[in-house]
């Protein structure tokens, strides 16, 4: 890959940022369900390990993006929602325009649902 391509609009950075944000949400969901895991009889005592991992991961995400994630999380519980192959937002179930999904599928930009405002994550 040429350097020029790398620097172009910083898009590769965005892709990585979205992946980090998705990993952060996966961690948050895990932390949220620790007590249920224990109730089911699973070993889940090292909560401190997860909180530390969350802190390290959050530190790698750009502040404005992290802020918008936290804000959405407060409002909806899940800030990022998967988009299925039929182009529906799994948060509010609106059909997303095809133009949006062709950009979204490349994962090069962080895209917000025009229906509910959640961050979209294309699965296909």
């Amino acid at each position: 890959m040429s350097l020029w391509k790398y620097f172009r609009k910083g898009k590769i950075l965005e892709k990585k940022q979205l992946d980090l944000l998705v990993a952060l949400q996966d961690l948050d969901m895990m932390i949220e369900e620790i007590s249920e895991m224990k109730r089911l009889g699973f070993s889940a005592d090292r909560e401190d390990e997860l909180l530390k991992a969350r802190e390290d991961l959050a530190a790698k995400i750009k502040k404005p993006l992290l802020y918008s994630y936290e804000k959405l999380k407060k409002r909806y519980k899940r800030a990022i929602v998967p988009v299925k192959e039929d182009n529906t937002c799994l948060g509010c179930f609106i059909r997303l325009p095809t133009s949006m999904s062709s950009i979204g599928r490349t994962d090069e930009e962080v895209i917000y649902c025009e229906g509910c405002g959640r961050i979209l994550y294309w699965l296909t």
Binding site: M37, G41, F42, Y121
Partner: protein, 153 residues
């Protein structure tokens, strides 16, 4: 939740009766790769990371040669369970220190319509607590045999 209710979460494409993996890490990769291959998951790395973080919290090797690695991930749209079996057993850092032969990997999306994820996990624990079921599962070679055992569990 009945045993019959469990069946819809399994798929023949996620039935791995003879794992090649010899370590816990390889086991995760082998099963997650199959999820990705059959398009139930988008991102291999994100899901592997989630599963490894889950192990930090405490081992999902629940003892008696059984492991139930599990988690929600933004990279999935439906709940699915993969079944894998290792004939020789894999060192898993299980709570009783025993190697693992029977593996049920449960992957769930951020939100599932009827909130089935936790009841499903509970049901799997219940089924696998019975030694009769574990013994039968060790013998299952085909997907049909496997489903038969689960439905009666």
């Amino acid at each position: 939740m009945t045993n019959e209710d469990l069946l819809i979460y399994f798929d023949e494409q996620l039935f791995l009766p003879d794992l090649l993996a010899k370590t816990k890490d390889d086991l995760f990769e082998e099963i997650v790769d199959q999820f990705v291959k059959v398009k139930y998951l988008k991102s291999r790395e994100i899901v592997l990371e989630m599963l490894r973080q889950r192990e930090k919290l405490g081992s999902t090797g629940v003892g008696k040669n059984v492991a139930i690695p599990h988690g929600r991930t933004t990279s999935a749209s439906d709940i699915m369970i993969a079944f894998a079996k290792s004939k020789n057993g894999i060192e898993y850092d299980a709570i009783d220190g025993k190697p693992v032969n029977l593996i049920f990997m449960i992957i769930a999306p951020p939100q599932d319509e009827n909130n089935m994820y936790l009841p499903l996990l509970g049901k799997m624990v219940e089924v696998l607590n019975k030694s009769k079921n574990r013994n039968k599962l060790m013998q299952a070679e085909t997907f049909d045999e496997f489903m038969e055992i689960l439905s009666k569990g």
